[in-house]
């Protein structure tokens, strides 16, 4: 048992760390609803004028839509490639199976600057014009792992005997996939897709290298941040970015912490 003093010290330290992370976020949210256009404390009062301005700013609107399209595109590629890779590794044996996990996980560990540079060089070499498509491909490289990891973890927890039982009861391979395997992994695929979307939505480094003339929301924020007359708008954009990252991540974590007993063997 710790002494009272030590326990209070620990609580204060925890609060300090949490405050360090979340107070700046809170500041952004407060300024998004600030009546004044300048960053100064205390805020002048509550107002929706900057939200209104943000909704009317076509540059910001376009950047926002572009980011959503890219996020959905990257998540879609990640779902297809990540799920297929997970199924292959979890359910079949083939040469190089052990290496696949490493190959799939590696891009997320690779510095973004290297990924960006390499992709940019490759796209230039094969004459692929930079734009939304090249950004989607760039984001997909590190988004695949999110779906892959979620799905393979679920497949490993799902007993093989479920698929065997389905087959034993007369279902062919496709029926087994549709009635047993897919329901078992569905929420894991969705969770992976949401995480992939969130990761793509706020990515900056790879985007800079592969964007060409396209402006995504993070890039718009990055550019506008230095312009005095845009500062208030940046806070509103920041709030939008926070929401679009927090909501998918929250849903994803709810989806993956599902009800235990996967095989139903033990109570």
């Amino acid at each position: 048992m710790r002494s009272g003093g030590a326990r209070w010290g620990l609580r204060l330290a925890t609060l300090a760390v949490l405050g360090f992370i979340y107070i700046p976020l809170a500041v952004v949210i407060v300024y998004a609803f600030n009546a004044s256009g300048t960053v100064s404390w205390p805020p002048a009062g509550f107002s929706l004028r900057w939200v209104q301005a943000a909704l009317e700013n076509s540059g910001l609107q376009d950047a926002f839509k572009t980011s959503i399209v890219i996020g959905i595109g990257a998540a879609a590629i990640a779902v297809i490639l990540g799920s297929l890779a997970a199924f292959a590794v979890a359910r079949y044996r083939f040469f190089g199976r052990e290496a696949i996990s490493f190959v799939v996980v590696f891009p997320i560990a690779l510095p973004g600057i290297v990924t960006g540079m390499a992709l940019s060089t490759t796209f230039a070499t094969v004459d692929l014009p930079l734009g939304i498509l090249s950004i989607i491909v760039g984001h997909a490289t590190f988004c695949v792992v999110l779906v892959y990891n979620n799905v393979i973890a679920r497949l490993r927890r799902t007993s093989r005997s479920l698929e065997e039982a389905s087959s034993d009861l007369g279902a062919d391979t496709w029926q087994t996939f549709r009635h047993v395997t897919l329901p078992a992994v569905r929420s894991a695929v969705l969770a992976g897709a949401l995480l992939a979307f969130a990761l793509s939505f706020d990515e900056v480094i790879v985007t800079i290298f592969t964007a060409g003339g396209v402006t995504t929301l993070p890039i718009w924020i990055f550019r506008s941040f230095r312009l005095a007359n845009q500062v208030a708008l940046v806070n509103v954009a920041g709030l939008a970015a926070i929401l679009l990252s927090v909501i998918p991540v929250y849903i994803a974590s709810r989806l993956t912490q599902d009800t235990g007993g996967v095989t139903g063997a033990k109570t």
Binding site: D168, P183, T263
Partner: protein, 395 residues
């Protein structure tokens, strides 16, 4: 009909007179109706990756190893299982009994040999194209479906019309005493209830053969004993062939019409519970199905009066004072009680014989208290038993 182990009896040995002759279902059937399940020299080798993994578990259990990287899980099995029979496959883990069951279900392909169901060769057929159903050790209930949908699954796949489906699901759940549980999820059931849902899900399809892979392994002792009785009753009610894999010899002896004892990928003996228990064909069977109580070599010659290896069941031996007389028709030996294990209804004595072997003796605690039983430790005793209970082992 080749029944393994039946030719191994010692012709000089007295027969156990009281043994009930067990009619084998396949003997009863006329030659025109083939056995429910027939295995012809079935071999299963696991190779490469899987082989190495299986090798680790099999090596620990003393299994057979084949060529480099290949593990022989099943080393040539011939077996016929009759229609309507309750047949158990008994053996320690790694003995090949589960692999054999999985080959009958179609989850594993035999490396050699043929598998026939009612005379039809199904060796190449996938599991969904075989008229057998399986109750899995972990039950394998679909967690996202209700109990009703789980039981209806096989009927749904076969496109049985909904009214008939519902009626049959209701009947199946009633049979396992789970009427009214249709809408529950497997996660809301106890272990014993899940076990019965798994049974209903398999039986609702009216398969010709039901395969059960250690279905009671995850249940506690009391529930297991209840389910043993219930399973046997259900089997008699539906008249389906049950093939039951277990490592629990008591379970196999109480439930089966016949059983096969597996060791290292081979069948050591096939027979009725009484045959296998009273007349084990090999020392392994003697040890696995009961307490081995083996007398071999010089010890056998001294006590039994003949060369060979003999086994005596612990409950056949009487323990008395060292000067107690032994009849002409009795074998006897002097020894010292080394260990006493009090088991409630009976007491088990381990006696070190002067001649050099050890025998286990069990006695019912008819008038003995635990204190008296435990006081026997270290005492000199004479063991006597009828000569006809010296059973010679062929192996």
């Amino acid at each position: 009909m080749p029944i393994l182990g039946s030719g191994r009896r010692d012709p000089h040995e007295e027969r156990v007179a009281t043994l009930t002759p067990q009619a084998r279902p396949s003997d009863r059937a006329d030659a025109a109706s083939p056995p429910a399940v027939e295995l012809r020299h079935v071999v299963k080798r696991f190779e490469g990756d899987v082989g190495r993994r299986v090798a680790r578990s099999v090596d620990a259990a003393g299994g057979a190893r084949g060529a480099a990287d290949a593990v022989v899980a099943v080393a040539g099995i011939d077996l016929e299982i009759g229609d309507g029979e309750f047949f158990s496959m008994l053996g320690p883990s790694g003995s090949g009994k589960t692999t054999t069951l999985r080959m009958i279900a179609g989850f594993e392909q035999p490396s050699e040999g043929r598998i026939l169901l009612h005379g039809e060769d199904v060796t190449e057929r996938p599991p969904f194209d075989r008229d057998v159903n399986t109750v899995f050790q972990d039950y394998a209930l679909f967690p996202h479906m209700t109990v009703g949908d789980n039981v209806a699954y096989g009927l749904m796949i076969r496109k049985v019309p909904k009214p008939e489906r519902e009626r049959r699901v209701g009947d199946a759940l009633a049979m396992v005493r789970l009427s009214g549980y249709e809408r529950r999820k497997p996660g809301q059931l106890s272990g014993g209830q899940r076990q019965r849902v798994a049974l209903a899900r398999a039986l609702v399809n009216r398969p010709s053969v039901l395969l059960l892979d250690e279905p009671l392994g995850a249940l506690d002792l009391k529930l297991r004993e209840e389910m043993q009785i219930e399973l046997k009753a259900i089997q008699q009610e539906v008249g389906i062939t049950f093939i039951y894999v277990t490592h629990d010899q008591e379970e196999a002896l109480t439930m089966s019409d016949r059983l096969a004892v597996f060791s290292q990928g081979r069948i050591e003996q096939v027979g009725s519970p009484a045959e296998v228990y009273e007349r084990p064909a090999t020392p392994f069977v003697a040890g696995f199905v009961g307490t081995s109580n083996l007398l071999g070599g010089a010890v056998a010659e001294t006590i039994v009066g003949r060369a060979g290896t003999f086994t005596v069941r612990p409950e056949k031996i009487r323990m008395g004072e060292p000067d107690a007389p032994a009849g002409d028709d009795e074998s006897s030996a002097l020894g010292v009680v080394r260990t006493v294990v009090y088991l409630g209804p009976d007491t088990r004595y381990i006696v070190a014989l002067d001649a050099g072997a050890e025998l286990v003796v069990t006695e019912q605690n008819l008038s003995t208290s635990s204190m008296e039983a435990l006081a026997a430790q270290g005492r000199r005793v004479r063991l006597t038993w009828k000569r006809q209970h010296n059973f010679a082992i062929g192996g």
